[in-house]
Symmetry: C2
């Protein structure tokens, strides 16, 4: 039992065949892709099923009705800019849809989806210009010239998403004749020509293409793309882009990546850039850059991250705040920032193997990514507040919501980056479950799953993971097949799991439960079919206290259960309509009952309109009553409501 893993570098040759979004040429851990791991149900399996059955078609329908996909047809027909609809980055949503569909087609065969996918690819390909340029917003008569607005134009950002779609397709359907990879490569070649060492010495206001180019290099073996990614990362931070209202920090052009102390500026941009910078550091053996990114991750996690894993404290510029600036009520915590944070953490996890990265991924998946989509997969949170003060308005199901925040999920947004980002993440989630290294297999996220892979030495291993996590805390890994010789199975013990235990046995023998500390439960043995490694995670609800430097939640506590952050929602209140009118009675610990977590609350004295500064604090004056909390990811599903994660105490 240890927090560090035994180590040996990845066999580079193996990497090229992995069916996963991120496949580094060198790393501490080797990703196990969709060919190796299959989530077969449970919390995430249900969400993947909804994603496949409803979300993908919902997105495609909106891409058509909003005109964002027809923009490509107009480009092909040469009629643009007349009739173009959507914001300057709307092309990217089409590409994220393609990426999501590609991963979904990597999970299962689906003739209809395959046909749809190819149809969209054809429309995209038809819009590509002779020299490889592809964007419906720039470059034509009546439009701004190509590359004339790097600050806000998002041309390279859009291409980044195109490349990621092509990578997903090539990994899930190598050598497919649909043509998407060719479209991507022609565009990537143009980018390398235009922005290469002798080209325009600049980069995109919205990072994305960096990580995409790195992956394109990995999937094709063409080092030019990796070099271009490195150029983009290293050019940044020298005040190349124009100053804007919020300063160049907004798009990370204030400080070179390697000199930053924490992520700052626009939270999605910052995380996409950090993810790309890890790729660049890994591919170019730049250990200083990698060390800096690790330190930035730590500082960001320790001082600029919400309890949900959400990031971004400002609505105004969708940006990180200063250290400790984490307001619950104005939490922006954009869904895309959560996804981008998972991308950054995952790359550091592969590079170094520390369980803390997987801890933050789990927290963010359960409390940001899972929070965004509704149960039917057809509406979404864009921002993820931790405190809703007034019940929101029910969004018009046929309208495009201009609002980034509400207390209710909306079917679509004027800026609709989040829905397809959720879709591509869920469709590729199997790839974030487990990894391998020279010594064995590591399981990072717990879901009912089948793992069928080979160790680095070629030995085949089959494992089944059975669990009702996060409803229950038992994770049972059964060895279905193993061959001679010892290897190591490592199970992540989350940072919150004080009191976890692990038990190693076989089909016949139940082993002794041994205590295991947060980090890794490491079992090395000569496994045989029928062997069982069972992790028991403590699932009793926990009271959580914040660092006192976080001004916004001083005097408050939250309640967590397993990986889930819980919330108090006003629809569960009997005696008050507003969660602001109650306080938590911390003398009564939270308890479980009827499948929910219950706490004790008391009503505040009535509010007045008097001057609110001067008198001593009001005391709660009513008898405590019991109220059930809801998992944060489930809030807002029962109509307009007020809600809070952090609760003031008596």
């Amino acid at each position: 039992m240890s927090t560090t893993l035994p180590t040996r570098p990845l066999d580079h040759a193996t990497a090229r065949t992995v069916v996963a979004p991120v496949v580094p040429s060198r790393s501490r851990l080797r990703p196990l892709g969709l060919g190796d791991v299959r989530i077969v149900g449970g919390f995430w399996g249900e969400r993947q099923a909804v994603n496949a059955a409803h979300t993908l078609s919902h997105i495609l329908s909106r891409l058509e009705s909003e005109g964002w996909l027809p923009n490509f047809d107009r480009a092909a027909a040469g009629t643009l800019p007349a009739g173009r609809r959507g914001r300057e980055f709307s092309d990217s949503e089409v590409y994220k849809y393609l990426e999501a569909a590609a991963w979904e087609l990597g999970r299962r065969d689906d003739i209809d989806l395959e046909r749809t996918f190819r149809g969209v690819v054809d429309r995209v390909a038809a819009a590509q210009e002779a020299d490889g340029y592809l964007n419906t917003e720039f470059g034509r008569e009546g439009q701004q010239p190509r590359w004339s607005d790097l600050e806000w134009g998002h041309e390279l950002y859009c291409l980044g998403h195109l490349f990621q779609a092509a990578v997903a397709r090539e990994r899930t359907r190598p050598g497919s004749d649909d043509g998407l990879l060719l479209v991507a490569l022609r565009a990537a070649d143009l980018v390398c020509e235009v922005f290469g060492p002798d080209g325009i010495p600049a980069f995109c206001g919205h990072p994305e293409i960096e990580t995409a180019l790195a992956e394109l290099a990995r999937v094709t073996g063409d080092a030019r793309y990796a070099a271009q990614a490195a150029l983009f990362v290293n050019r940044r931070g020298h005040e190349t882009l124009a100053d804007i209202e919020w300063g160049r920090r907004y798009f990370q052009d204030d400080v070179p990546v390697r000199d930053a102390e924490a992520l700052s500026g626009h939270a999605v941009r910052a995380n996409y850039l950090a993810a790309g910078a890890v790729d660049v550091a890994v591919e170019s053996d730049d250990d200083d850059l990698l060390a800096s990114l690790r330190a930035q991750w730590s500082r960001t996690r320790g001082r600029r991250t919400y309890i949900t894993g959400g990031q971004g404290s400002h609505h105004q510029d969708e940006a990180f705040g200063d250290d400790w600036e984490l307001p619950s009520d104005r939490a922006y915590s954009e869904t895309c920032a959560g996804i981008a944070s998972v991308m950054f953490s995952w790359r550091l996890l592969l590079a170094g193997g520390e369980s803390a990265y997987a801890d933050l991924i789990e927290r963010t998946l359960f409390n940001v990514v899972a929070t965004s989509p509704s149960a039917d997969g057809r509406s979404f949170f864009y921002a993820n507040t931790l405190h809703q003060r007034v019940p929101g308005v029910v969004p018009d199901p046929d309208a495009t919501s201009p609002r980034a925040s509400s207390s209710l999920r909306a079917p679509w947004f004027e800026v609709s980056c989040c829905p397809p980002n959720v879709a591509r993440t869920l469709a590729s989630l199997d790839a974030y479950v487990a990894t391998a290294d020279a010594g064995g297999i590591q399981i990072h996220q717990y879901a009912p799953a089948e793992i069928r892979t080979t160790l680095d030495d070629g030995r085949e291993v089959s494992l089944d993971v059975a669990t009702r996590y996060p409803d229950e805390g038992t994770v049972r890994v059964t060895v279905i097949h193993s061959t001679e010789g010892a290897w190591t199975l490592s199970l992540r013990v989350p940072e919150w799991a004080d009191g976890a235990r692990v038990r190693v046995g076989s089909a016949d023998v139940v082993g002794e439960a041994l205590p295991v500390s947060p980090g890794w439960a490491v079992v090395r043995r000569e496994f045989r079919a029928g062997d069982v490694v069972e992790l028991e995670l403590p699932m009793a609800p926990r009271i959580v206290v914040p660092d006192p430097r976080i001004d916004a939640i001083r005097g408050c506590v939250a309640v967590e259960r397993g990986p889930e952050v819980l919330a108090l929602e006003s629809v569960d209140l009997a005696t008050a309509e507003d969660v602001g009118e109650v306080v938590l009675d911390v003398t009564a610990p939270p308890v479980e009952g009827d499948g929910r977590v219950w706490v004790s609350i008391a009503d505040r004295a009535p509010a007045s309109d008097g001057w609110p500064f001067g008198a001593g604090p009001l005391d709660a004056d009513a008898e405590p009553t019991r109220v059930a909390l809801v998992p944060y990811h489930d809030w807002g599903n029962r109509g307009p409501s007020t809600m809070r994660v952090w609760m003031p105490t008596t």
Copy 2:
């Protein structure tokens, strides 16, 4: 001694001659204008002197160099839109400059300023079109058509400021031949024609013209303008303007003014509109509307106002937040919102006479309006945060700051509404000191001043006010001249002044000090020359505790002294560089010494980058040390610093 005043309606005939920004046709209190009241020194007199000596010329110089005044020359020359500079509302800053200069010329003769004033008026007048239209951004070939963008165009807003400048000029120099009033009336006639009962059934996205038209009606006696103001107020709130990202609440078009429960949306817009709505209610005897506005004021003060009097909790839309949403670190508290709040409160004070309105005016003047300008009157805060987490950057003195917030004042802004707004407020501040009614005189704000006026029955009264307020709490009012018969002198006792005392005597006899409660100290007698009424306000520093519903400052206290909110600034710390690293020791009360207020603080335990949720709160572990606080309005004058008003306690 009472919180209510004896009452009799104002003599309407008197009102027309008052030299003040607001002169209602009917009101509980009659304003005493610049002809009646003269601030002769002290806290406000010094600021007025700096305003006159430096700020006005600083503003004019920027209006020239930024091209905002030359825009009028280009309009007159017929060369627009070529060369036009500044935002769509830049005309208004020229008008606010004119208003400020007009008030300044009402305070004292100044041949140079008079010449400058007339020069600017000539350039503005030359740009007016034949039908009275006046705006440098709209209506010409190559520009958007007139009135085509009521949401954002600010055309009527700009004209409102033009009208206020003309009103100031006409009141301070009745019948002046400079032509400004004529320019204003021609534009106002056009507005009444275009937006009248049979005209465009809409209004401006930024309220301002409502209160301006009401005052134009008062100064000219032309009821059409008041009727147009009423039309604009009553049309609002029916979703006439287009929806925008932040909803129609942003420009108060979501709910009719009389149906609102509190101010909401953009804080400057909301207060300007409320001020105009009071004018409309007063002029049209609409007591229901007036009652609604009083209730909105109370709810806004009680739940949406910072301890400084500042308003506006969101940077994003410069808007009010929900009830109790008052983050210190993201306080927007725009200087203009403070000024607009003073305008709203002042109109309600005149209408009803309740001291609470003057209380909020005092708080806002000392802690928002006085905070904005630097000591030299050449740089300004635009936003007024209550918690600066990181030291700001020194603004380039020659540049135009695009940033609405910094820890240091900037000489100018891309949107530079605040500097001329401060200038016009300070130049007319004498008019906010005192009022009269049928029974006597009321003093609302304390400054060394001369009051020379007549009571409603024609009796002449002269008073001198001597005070070192707010350094000291004694306000000594000496009767210089009075005639036979009793009248009433009422002195406001601020809401914070528990333990105030009043003493009535003569040149020879020192009266007994009698306790007086917050509200009004009312002295009715047959005053003779040499009589003295002396108010003693308790100036010991006070610990202030917030309503526990205000989540953002739970577990914190602030310190006030008199009308001043105090702040902890890092330049005063010996043992820490960041005010976030200390806590207040509340067992040691604040004390005065060396002209400052001292508190006891302790250092926090060192911060880490660990996951910040889960462990119990860190305790301060160092010995308490003493540190001096600074008046909030003085912060940021000693270089980059961190600062906080609300301090966590041990």
